[in-house]
Symmetry: C2
Subunit: 806 residues, 2 copies
């Protein structure tokens, strides 16, 4: 129809639906060669002093031998007529092919048995995702294959037991990757005259020696009633800094690619500068009209560069900042092969999955189980805006692979240089994907002590250190940093931080309009000449399978309530407060309480500490920015339907079932009206008193990006967190026995003495830290700390002990 655009602006309109498809169908297959990297000869495997886990990691990813055997088994399987699999390199949209292969988490019931009796090893099974194209309707099937190693018992079963839909498959409305690529490419050619006319300046940013492609972004495809239709938009690629998300151009088209016959596909309409055009021809005709109002192009430049444009400050900013060191080596013990970590009484195993990234298993503190499973389930970003893209953009990122998108961490920047770096691997069909150094484990020292008290006759202070397990999922424009943090007293924290490029919306405002309402005013802020930020809710769901002093647990709300009382000793009514304990009886969703007026405590009614209090852990908002929020649309959103109802409350308390593995499936958004796992069905009113409890909780933020998000969102103000805090779990604060500290004591003669606890300085244990951290005993002589009578310690012995308080 239209003339070809110039060579330099060849256009590829790829889209989110394409990427989506890449995950589902893995094409590349030169994978087995990589397996050797996963074996025992991994370069880092022996680094950590050959520390060995007490037990094997039953949640571990499939090892190369298992993968090889499984692939053989699957390709040669002949039961029920076989799977009719085509190897990835030859598979088309009309074939069946393996999309991914990973371990199927064993039943908790079986693992608990094994933990108590090692002879009862839980069966090992694999989860296999198969793209079924060799049928009239393309589908994605899930199978469970096991037990492994492959033997006479091994079988392939539909994986439906953990899907409360009862199904083990979803429709695959996008099976034909190559056809879609080709169609979008043809479309690019077809409309390149229009794009060239509108966006000539953006076609080649100028600094690159090869032609950058344009591309279209689409929000998650809509699959209503089997149709695949949605809006796409043209963004400049932002190749210099990968800042495509900041470079929308204000050109939108709605496409329909229903079915597998690309000749049926079409662009339905165009949207530009507030006007809809009901065909490509109509849009072309308008554009070519000399009176057509052409919007200015949104051009990439140094403004998207996270590197400093200039050093802004005259003072001392060229000096390197403080840095953390380990003067006597690591205090963290890691078995890299079994992915087992031990630190100051904490022990746990790690595993990774393609969809959800890192999970922690069998977390023990001082030998006692506290959390059986802790891991991310799904990361949602729900946008709202004033253009066809922004208004309905909803991402459920597990489909893109929060595990698959773990990349290398940078020592000294992402984590301290002394951290232990672990690698991960995933099996996409025939192809193994390896991510070196994509998890780090390190101890850090807080800027504050964990305990301190200045008393009349002594002073004591203890260091606060903590262990961090970190990974970063880069999902397109955004980086999610996931931290699992462990504190000396038994507290466990889960924290998410965001960085990366925000999604912008194209909004042109002329200079004389500056300060007036921009078109995107109701959804964000103007953050660059032609870019408005787009408000969005991040809601990130986690599973915490708590076992607090056993598996029989109860959630008690300890409410701080207003109370009027006339006490016998008062003689008048008093407006005061008291506690009101309330066990939650059945499965339910909860929100963080108003004015922090309730504590949520998971405890075992039948386990008490030495003082008779029920041993528990408190679930509380942690050290993120205030309380983590849930989705603004508390009654659901049009875009999500039933795909993510876990997002509507802050946390959920459910009874554990072996067949309720997760809060969601990465394929939930393929059939959002009837998702593979409907979370609402899991909250079905079961009694939860003295049962095995699972908490699903949300982190996230209502993100309204402003100028400070350009070029990248900052991590210090984007964090959210939930903490699990011992609550009468021990008889006494256990950090006393692992914290390093100092005690300054004044004797009756008025002399202060300094006594360290923790590191055995006294026992001839000398480390470099003495150079770094001056010995207080010497300081007290030379520089007068606490020996000079001016600290509180310096009060005269026998002086009145002043009974004042806080």
């Amino acid at each position: 129809m239209a003339s070809k655009g110039p060579q330099r602006s060849w256009i590829v309109l790829s889209s989110i639906v394409v990427f989506f498809f890449i995950i589902v169908v893995s094409l590349n297959s030169h994978s087995l060669k990589l397996f050797s990297r996963l074996g025992s000869d991994r370069p880092q495997a022996q680094r950590n002093n050959e520390y060995r886990a007490p037990r094997s990691n039953v949640w571990a990813d499939l090892n190369p031998e298992e993968v090889t055997d499984l692939l053989d088994y699957l390709y040669t399987y002949e039961g029920d007529g076989g799977l009719n699999l085509t190897r990835n390199e030859k598979a088309t949209a009309w074939d069946n092919s393996i999309a991914s292969l990973e371990v199927l988490t064993p039943n908790k019931t079986d693992v608990l048995k094994w933990l108590h009796n090692p002879s009862t090893t839980p069966q090992r099974w694999a989860r296999v995702i198969v793209n079924k194209g060799a049928a009239e309707k393309a589908t994605i099937h899930e199978y469970m294959v096991g037990p492994i190693p492959i033997g006479s018992e091994t079988q392939i079963l539909p994986l439906s037991y953990c899907h409360n839909s009862g199904r083990h498959y979803v429709k695959n409305p996008l099976p034909n990757y190559l056809d879609i690529i080709n169609w979008f490419s043809d479309l690019g050619d077809e409309v390149s005259d229009i794009v060239e006319h509108l966006l000539a300046e953006v076609a080649n940013p100028g600094n690159l020696s090869y032609s950058p492609p344009f591309f279209a972004l689409s929000r998650t495809a809509q699959f209503n009633n089997g149709s695949v239709s949605n809006w796409a938009t043209i963004n400049s690629p932002g190749l210099a800094f990968d800042a495509f998300a900041l470079l929308p151009q204000g050109v939108f088209c709605r496409f329909d690619i229903t079915g597998r016959e690309s000749k049926e596909w079409k662009i339905v309409e165009w949207y530009y500068n507030g006007k809809l055009y009901n065909s490509t021809d109509a849009f072309r005709q308008a554009v070519k009209n000399p009176k057509f109002e052409r919007l200015p192009p949104n051009i990439d430049g140094s403004w998207t560069n996270p590197e400093p444009l200039e050093r802004g400050l005259p003072a001392r900013d060229i000096l390197p900042p403080p840095v953390v060191v380990q003067p006597a080596g690591s205090r963290v013990q890691v078995d890299e092969k079994e992915k087992f970590v031990s630190w100051m009484g904490f022990d746990f195993y790690l595993s990774t999955s393609q969809a959800t990234g890192v999970s922690l298993w069998d977390i023990k503190f001082r030998g006692e189980a506290i959390i059986y499973e802790l891991g991310m389930q799904e990361a949602m970003a729900h946008y709202a805006g004033n253009d066809p893209m922004s208004s309905g953009q909803v991402w459920l990122d597990s489909l893109f692979g929060m595990g698959l998108n773990l990349y290398e961490l940078v020592p000294g920047y992402d984590c301290p240089t002394y951290a232990t770096y672990l690698s991960t691997s995933f099996q996409m069909g025939d192809k193994a994907v390896q991510r070196n150094n994509s998890i780090c484990v390190f101890e850090y020292v807080a800027d504050y002590p964990i305990q301190r008290h200045t008393a009349t006759m002594h002073l004591s202070i203890s260091k606060s250190t903590y262990l961090v397990v970190r990974s970063v999922s880069t999902v397109g424009n955004y980086d999610y940093t996931f931290d699992y943090i462990f504190y000396l007293d038994g507290t466990v924290e889960v924290k998410v931080r965001a960085s990366g490029y925000i999604f912008g919306s194209y909004n042109s405002i002329s200079p004389d309009e500056l300060g007036k309402r921009s078109p995107g005013y109701e959804y964000g802020y103007q953050v660059h000449e032609l870019v408005t930020s787009v408000m969005h809710d991040h809601v990130i769901n986690f599973k915490a399978d708590l076992d607090i002093a056993g598996t029989a647990n109860t959630l008690v709300k300890v409410n701080v309530v207003r109370h009027d009382s006339e006490y016998p000793w008062d003689g008048y009514p008093r407006k005061t407060m008291k506690l009101n304990r309330e066990a939650v009886e059945t499965e339910t969703g909860l929100n963080w309480p108003r004015n922090a007026g309730s504590m949520y405590v998971v405890l075992n009614n039948d386990s008490r500490n030495i003082w008779g209090e029920k041993r528990g852990y408190r679930i509380a908002p942690g050290t993120g920015m205030g309380n983590p929020p849930h989705l603004t649309m508390e009654d659901g959103s049009t875009a999500l339907k039933k795909a993510a109802t876990w997002s509507m409350k802050d946390l959920w308390i459910l009874k554990h079932h072996d067949d309720e593995l997760k809060s969601t499936s990465e394929y939930n958004n393929m059939e959002p009206e009837d998702p593979l796992i409907d979370f609402e069905k899991m909250v079905d009113g079961e009694s939860i008193q003295q049962e095995d409890l699972v908490v699903y909780f949300n982190l996230g933020t209502h993100h309204i990006p402003h100028s400070g998000d350009i070029p990248n969102t900052l991590e210090h103000t984007s964090s959210s967190s939930v903490m699990f805090i011992p609550h009468n779990f021990h008889d006494r604060d256990p950090s006393r026995e692992s914290s390093h500290g100092v005690k300054l004591e004044k004797d009756e003669s008025g002399r202060s003495t300094v006594k360290y606890f923790g590191a055995k300085y006294e026992d001839g244990f000398t480390v470099d830290v003495r150079d770094i951290e001056p010995d207080l005993r010497n300081r007290s002589k030379n520089q007068g700390f606490f020996a000079n009578g001016e600290g509180r310690v310096g009060l005269e012995p026998g002086a009145a002990i002043l009974p004042f308080g806080a």
Copy 2:
């Protein structure tokens, strides 16, 4: 009446009211000798490279010369018949004497003039507190004396302009310290037989070579209608670890010490084991009865010792933990004399006051004023419990002196060893009080980067460092750590952490009752054999006088709201969300919104960034534990009356007035029905649109101590915080220009290059940090970071850029 107790158990029943009095009347007077320590020959004064503040500190504490001159002036003043002052060393309850002397903060109006025009120096005045005992009714008077230096213009005026009560004095129901001491001492003798009978085991814990005193604690005295009556209780002193607050003995007496005639004072009744006794004789008679049920004594021991009782862990806990170092020296510039701090674009001054501790003044970021004044106003701890003490214990700690109780900080434990330590001093009557090294200022490096993004062709990461100004107020049993934290992007955070000994309540439960409800069940937990914890609300009030892009400011609530919309491009109604902006019109109190559904932004309607957005700062809950709460009794508490109504909401937004200096007075609780400063009167409906705004906000926690608070409350889970975050204040994230980072870039040939930004490693600037933090360029060769094609950076050039997102 009764026989004297044995010598070893001499009893001093002192009380909170006594301590209270100590603050008001300073008796000791060997103070002037100490002044030399405050002068220019302070040992640390020249430490910080002789960095000098650009302007003098007009908020600075009185210097020794000013104090000398003022004392001379006051003692010789003859206007209006003179003040009739007696020097502290000779003063009795029947005399007038100076209680304290400090600078009177200058009017903001005058300071702003001076900041713009240095020739208009604001007048310097002092605030003088005088105990007036030489009258029929004892009072505490506040005066303003100035201008200083003393000259012909100098005068003494009643300090009432900043008290909305119109008064400059409060009743002093407790003027006669010595009489009270003596009366309690006599009382101790009088009841020592009872105490000996009930508490023989506690009378001398055994390890101390001198006899420890018992003492009584009282909650804040009640001053209803001029009477002074309240409950006191006997606690073991806990001399070994200063753990008196954990050592209640369950013995209570109500005293009445109204008036200055000690012969009128009396013990009104006793309370023991749930029974009231209406006289000391009645109690004695009951106690001496052989059938009297004697409660077990609550004995001090190693359980109150914060030092580890044993090293609990077999692994690596004897190694020293990580430590932070500054490889190339400090990047913080401090003028110790003027208490001026400069770091990465932030500049501010510090001052201290006896009642409230550290305040920050004229906080600028990149040369632009953002906060005129930032400081603590009052720290409340409001208890509720099941005994006469716990049920009504309410502390308003500024009366005890949050500044006066700043003690020395321990390098390497309270703050890094490399911190700059500042000293503070206060003038109590004739006596100067010096606190060496009681404020620390240091830069720290976060465990996470401030920015990161892994892109297809590059990766960039920037370090997150921040500046901390820290002081610790030890008020009796509790330590409050106050942090003012500054981030590279212009964010300012205020954070409070608590540690120290909780207040316990005596509750005996027999071993077979363990696990049943203890008597304190409605107010806390059993945390030791005979001790129940006592629930309490910490509410700590701060003033932030914001000047965001000028003094004409408006508070806008940016609400994230549920929204149903039918967009032109959709063709169907959509359940989504949008923003709704709402300027707050008049002075009011606000709570943190449900589900984080509003952002509170202080902005200037007439100042816009380059993109046309109004320049603002957002006020948000920071990185404490969730949202900071306010007082549970939202309609007020019996104990507080009108003394602290600021505690009933999370934050308040008011119009600045030169005569509204503070939210409260440290003497508010002396006349709680008609306090010197009634906060409610300040919230009087004035329009606050485009006015000079002041925010009063609360930090704190509902603290329900559990076994993990024994021996001390832990700081990592006790923090609360509010942040002031730039919100469209700059045109772009300013941290880009001061953050140190690294950029890894892949070229078309597939090679990665490493480029540092920040420290000028390239320019021959070599520092030890290279040893500590390995050069990534070398690592990329040797250890494969990012050069091995397995990070995202390693994708082939020209590979499809996948348009996926978050």
